[in-house]
């Protein structure tokens, strides 16, 4: 029994420090300024423990029963603190600091009650000098265990929410254990036991439901209802819907809004494809949502469309989910279209086919991996897959927000052997957006556009090629595999916009 009690002290001490660390970590994540957050959280917590210790003098009789209740309450309050604070941050961010210090104070006060109560419970069982020495020593050893377990094991393996619930459960287990050890001193402990078990059940529910709580917190980062969320080996796919608008996010980045995607996709495809003489085979790189394919398939003369997208889950969703397939008019199920799920660069490198037109719709060059697809070497390879008179159209980020990046892509296409025609369009959900057409022969403006367009007309088409003063060409080094200067440029330009 002695051993059991001392294990309890150790567990209590470990849990107590973990709550403190969780609060500090969460505050640092959400508010930034780690030093300030940890300092104030630790200060508030220790102060509250002092308050708890003082308040312990008012607990007179029924020491053991009170101890069991305190343990259960620490478990419940501490164990759910991370989930509670996350919820407050999502639902009422203005009240976050108040909630943070409130919870820290409550948990700290309860934890502060623990050690004085234990000492008083044990005071008749051994000499004071041994009691104090051993209880306090274990208390501090528990703190060491917590400070190692939390960053090295618990956080990396379980994440914040589950760690928090798990530690709460440990506190409740101590309460249950105490009930068992002191069963002779607590003759009628049925009600007490029920309270403790209820806390355990709540925490267990929280632990098991943590992933859902995480998903809910995630969903609340998106303005609209999340109707679909999938994690693939390549990215996190989220589709949201409001009354009139469907949006696709990959890794949190907006890919399209159904309200204005026609501006983007019509502009991506038609200025080039409508100018190619009798195109028959078209290649789409990226564009797994099938929206560019929808525009390409408007040309009755196009016999074959090959769509290469890395992520099979994206193309599968946009082919099979009825509401998503409605957006692309079922383009991914069109018999003329073939989907290939593989890496675009290696596929192109191994493939001997030729095409009349290539749509290049990759994510922005925000890292070295994607950056390879915006290099002289890649564009040179692309050119070798074009029939005479063929063209490529490349999405080229924003010429307004990332002006240097846009003109770098243009310079890279030039260095890759293309004659270039840069143009741009306004897409409300994106802002001003840019494309570059790479041609292998003379470009003559199209005489007709396909049926059913909602944005482009022959009259407005020329206006896309005019650049206002703040988007004009800036001199730029081409992006190469060995420099990837575009990634650095892109990073620095968007950093200025994303305050």
């Amino acid at each position: 029994m002695k051993l059991a009690l001392f294990i309890s002290v150790f567990v209590i001490a470990t849990c107590g420090l973990v709550y403190e660390l969780i609060a500090g970590a969460l505050a640092s994540y959400l508010l930034g300024d780690t030093v300030l957050q940890f300092s104030t959280v630790i200060g508030a917590y220790l102060f509250a423990m002092g308050v708890g210790s003082y308040l312990s003098r008012y607990i007179g009789r029924g020491l053991v029963a009170r101890f069991v209740q305190v343990e259960a309450l620490v478990g419940l309050a501490g164990g759910s603190s991370a989930a509670l604070l996350s919820a407050v941050f999502v639902e009422a961010p203005a009240g976050f600091r108040l909630a943070l210090y409130g919870i820290v104070f409550v948990v700290g006060t309860l934890v502060g009650l623990e050690i004085p109560l234990i000492i008083r419970i044990l005071k008749d069982r051994l000499a004071l000098h041994d009691l104090v020495a051993q209880v306090l020593a274990l208390d501090y050893i528990g703190a060491l265990a917590a400070s190692l377990l939390f960053p090295l094991v618990l956080m990396p393996k379980l994440g914040l929410l589950r760690t928090c619930f798990l530690v709460g459960l440990a506190n409740v287990l101590v309460a249950l254990w105490a009930l068992r050890i002191f069963r002779e001193e607590l003759p009628r402990s049925g009600g007490l036991k029920a309270q403790v078990l209820l806390c355990a059940a709540l925490l267990m529910g929280g632990f098991l439901g943590s992933s859902r709580i995480g998903a809910w917190a995630d969903a609340s980062l998106y303005a609209d209802d999340v109707i679909l969320a999938r994690t693939t080996p390549y990215q996190k796919i989220v589709v949201t819907r409001s009354r009139h608008d469907t949006r696709l996010f990959l890794n949190g980045h907006l890919q399209f809004s159904s309200l204005d995607e026609h501006r983007y996709h019509e502009s991506l495809v038609h200025p080039g494809l409508a100018a190619v003489r009798s195109p028959r085979s078209v290649l789409i790189l990226g564009g797994g949502d099938g929206l560019a394919a929808r525009e390409v398939l408007r040309y009755p003369g196009v016999e074959r469309v090959t769509l290469v997208d890395l992520d099979a889950e994206v193309t599968r969703l946009f082919a099979s989910n009825p509401s998503l397939a409605a957006l692309n008019s079922g383009s991914l199920s069109d018999p003329r279209l073939k989907v290939v799920n593989t890496d675009a660069f290696t596929w192109l490198d191994d493939n001997p086919e030729f095409f009349d037109f290539v749509v290049v719709d990759f994510p922005d060059p925000s890292n070295h991996s994607v950056g390879k697809l915006y290099t002289t070497n890649f564009y040179g390879l692309l050119k070798r897959h074009l029939r005479p008179g063929g063209m490529v159209a490349v999405q080229a980020t924003s010429p307004l927000f990332a002006r240097g990046s846009f003109w770098c892509i243009e310079a890279t296409l030039t260095a890759g052997g293309f004659k270039t025609l840069p143009y741009h369009v306004y897409v409300p959900s994106f802002g001003e957006w840019g494309f570059v057409l790479g041609t292998t022969g003379p470009y003559a403006a199209p005489l007709t556009l396909p049926e059913g367009l909602r944005f482009l007309t022959l009259e407005t088409l020329p206006s896309l090629f005019a650049f206002s003063k703040d988007m004009e060409r800036v001199p730029s080094e081409p992006n190469r595999l060995n420099t990837q200067n575009l990634v650095h440029l892109y990073d620095s330009e968007w950093e200025k916009i994303n305050f």
Binding site: F6, F10, V153, K157, D343, T346
Partner: protein, 545 residues
């Protein structure tokens, strides 16, 4: 200590360790166990090499005739063959001790990737490196000249970005100089050091020679420059006021990386050569392939098909009045073979040449005994779901500040794909301290398990939990990986003696003759030996060096 005591001290400590240990155990329990790690300890043909020392080979029964016999199939020997072939020579034969050709440019391949066993890149050659340019043109890597007359290289062979990163203070930074946490003084000294190296790089003597050239034979002979060979790189740094510990680490890393020696052992001339012989600025790029310089080996082996034989342990080269004989042991047929030729190119390290070439064996000259070598270990790790770590993303060369080894190179770095599920990492571990035979033996007697522990401990500093993702570790130990450019060796007598013909018909060729183990130097000496052989035979050729 009465009955009142709840816990004795022993109980207390036992409890504390139980709780601590339990915490660690539960940490491990959360980790899904992977399939077991496999691997092997591979070595150069040690047993064959030892047979060379023991001798006692049966007399040759078969006799082959050729014009030129080349002993050794590393870069020097292969380059000699390449030059002979390009000059229209058809009758030559190359004998290699190992089953694989390439020497320090050997390579391997598994399901994940091809990978190097040692040398893994060639810096953009300077204009002086004419033979290297010729070779790269032949291999299709150098594809022409741009408008300003600079060579154009195959973009896929030029090392992709990001090239280098360093793990320091718990995160990865870009570049190898430890910038994270550097003081202003560190940064000032680095800038001053760079300026000194730029001055050395652009310096030309009265005859128009570079201060530090590749091949090093074309370097200036100005006495003040050659005097740099008289002190160590470490002493030179001190003498010039470069006291920053970070700068010193950086220079030490360079010496260990290129030479297998510490900054205190390396000749300052060699150390400065490392920084001042290459292009600088835009030209400071390297050519690399998944299999490292194995790409060049494979290309040369393809071109020389039918003229290569191995494994063949040449144990004697004797010059006679009208020709040479090279006697070799064929470990497969278990018989000795004699090759009669008009001339022999002995393209092996000097420590082997002095056991093979009869006159060197007889005379045992002091210069041939003075070459010292650094042992190395390299390992190829196959890593599933490779970790990237905190900070700057995975680069080609990934170095750990104050690490035990040199870090690791990602073999698949030149891949075009966006994402790799598994990678081969080549880990380099020079042993600069293992200078004495005893130290060398103890280093070389480590088991595969010892090496695995060392490698995972070193890399684990930057990638905790790496062991769970490593599927295999193949280890190769090189007892005499590189000649050490120690103080006084770069411009001492031994190197010059080794470059002279042995007799009239036997020529040594190896990077040993340059004093340091660089690809360009090995190729230079191989091509030079081929030219000497053709001069001797009266065969016309266009000189490459």
């Amino acid at each position: 200590m009465g009955k009142d005591q709840l816990l004795t001290r022993r109980d207390f400590l036992g409890l504390a360790s139980l709780l601590g240990g339990g915490a660690l155990l539960s940490g491990c329990g959360l980790r899904a166990p992977g399939p077991p790690m496999t691997g092997a300890l591979l070595g150069q043909a040690h047993s064959l090499g030892h047979r060379l020392v023991q001798g006692g080979f049966p007399p040759p029964r078969r006799i082959l005739e050729t014009d030129v016999v080349i002993v050794g199939g590393g870069i020097a020997g292969l380059s000699a063959g390449w030059k002979l072939q390009r000059s229209g020579m058809k009758d030559f034969l190359l004998l290699e001790l190992e089953a694989e050709f390439g020497g320090n440019s050997r390579w391997g391949r598994n399901k994940t990737s091809a990978y190097p066993w040692a040398a893994h890149y060639i810096p953009f050659p300077s204009p002086e490196s004419r033979a290297v340019h010729e070779l790269l043109q032949d291999l299709g890597v150098e594809q022409g000249r741009d408008a300003s007359g600079r060579p154009v290289y195959d973009e896929r062979a030029v090392c992709f970005a990001p090239q280098e990163r360093l793990f320091i203070h718990g995160r990865w930074q870009e570049g190898i100089f430890p910038k994270l946490g550097a003081t202003q003084e560190d940064v000032r000294q680095l800038a001053a050091f760079d300026a000194r190296m730029t001055a050395f790089r652009t310096m030309r003597d009265n005859e128009g020679r570079r201060a530090f050239a590749i091949p090093m034979a074309l370097s200036s002979r100005r006495p003040d420059l050659l005097a740099l060979d008289k002190l160590s790189m470490g002493d030179w740094l001190k003498r010039e006021g470069f006291t920053s510990p970070r700068l010193r680490w950086y220079a030490d890393y360079a010496c260990r990386d290129d030479f297998g020696t510490t900054v205190d052992d390396a000749s300052a001339w060699a150390g400065i050569h490392y920084f001042a012989s290459r292009g600088g600025g835009d030209e400071d790029q390297v050519l690399t392939w998944p299999e490292g310089n194995g790409f060049v080996t494979a290309g040369l082996v393809r071109r020389l098909e039918g003229r290569l034989a191995g494994p063949m342990l040449v144990y004697d080269v004797t010059e006679g009045p009208s020709g040479v004989t090279a006697d070799a042991w064929d470990p497969r047929a278990k018989e000795s073979v004699r090759v009669r030729a008009k001339t022999a190119l002995v393209c092996v390290p000097v420590f082997l040449a002095r056991r093979i070439v009869a006159s060197l064996r007889r005379e045992d000259p002091a210069w041939a005994r003075s070459f010292a070598y650094a042992p190395w270990m390299t390992a190829n790790l196959t890593v599933e779901d490779p970790p990237t770590g905190k900070g700057f993303p995975t680069a080609w060369d990934n170095v750990i500040f104050n690490g035990e080894g040199l870090g690791y190179v990602v073999a698949g770095h030149q891949g075009l794909e966006r994402q790799r599920n598994s990678e081969v990492w080549t880990y380099y571990y020079p042993m600069p301290a293992a200078a004495t035979p005893a130290a060398r033996r103890s280093a070389l007697s480590r088991s595969w398990g010892d090496w695995r522990t060392l490698i995972l401990r070193d890399l684990g500093r930057a990638h905790p939990g790496l062991a769970d993702r490593v599927r295999s570790i193949d280890v190769m130990v090189f007892g005499h990986a590189m000649v050490k450019p120690t103080v006084g060796t770069m411009w001492g007598q031994a190197r010059l003696m080794a470059q002279k013909p042995v007799g009239r018909r036997v020529f040594l060729a190896h990077s040993d003759l340059s004093g340091f183990s660089l690809f360009e130097e090995a190729q230079y000496h191989g091509v030079l030996a081929a030219q000497r052989a053709m001069t001797l035979l009266g065969h016309p050729f266009r000189p490459s060096v």
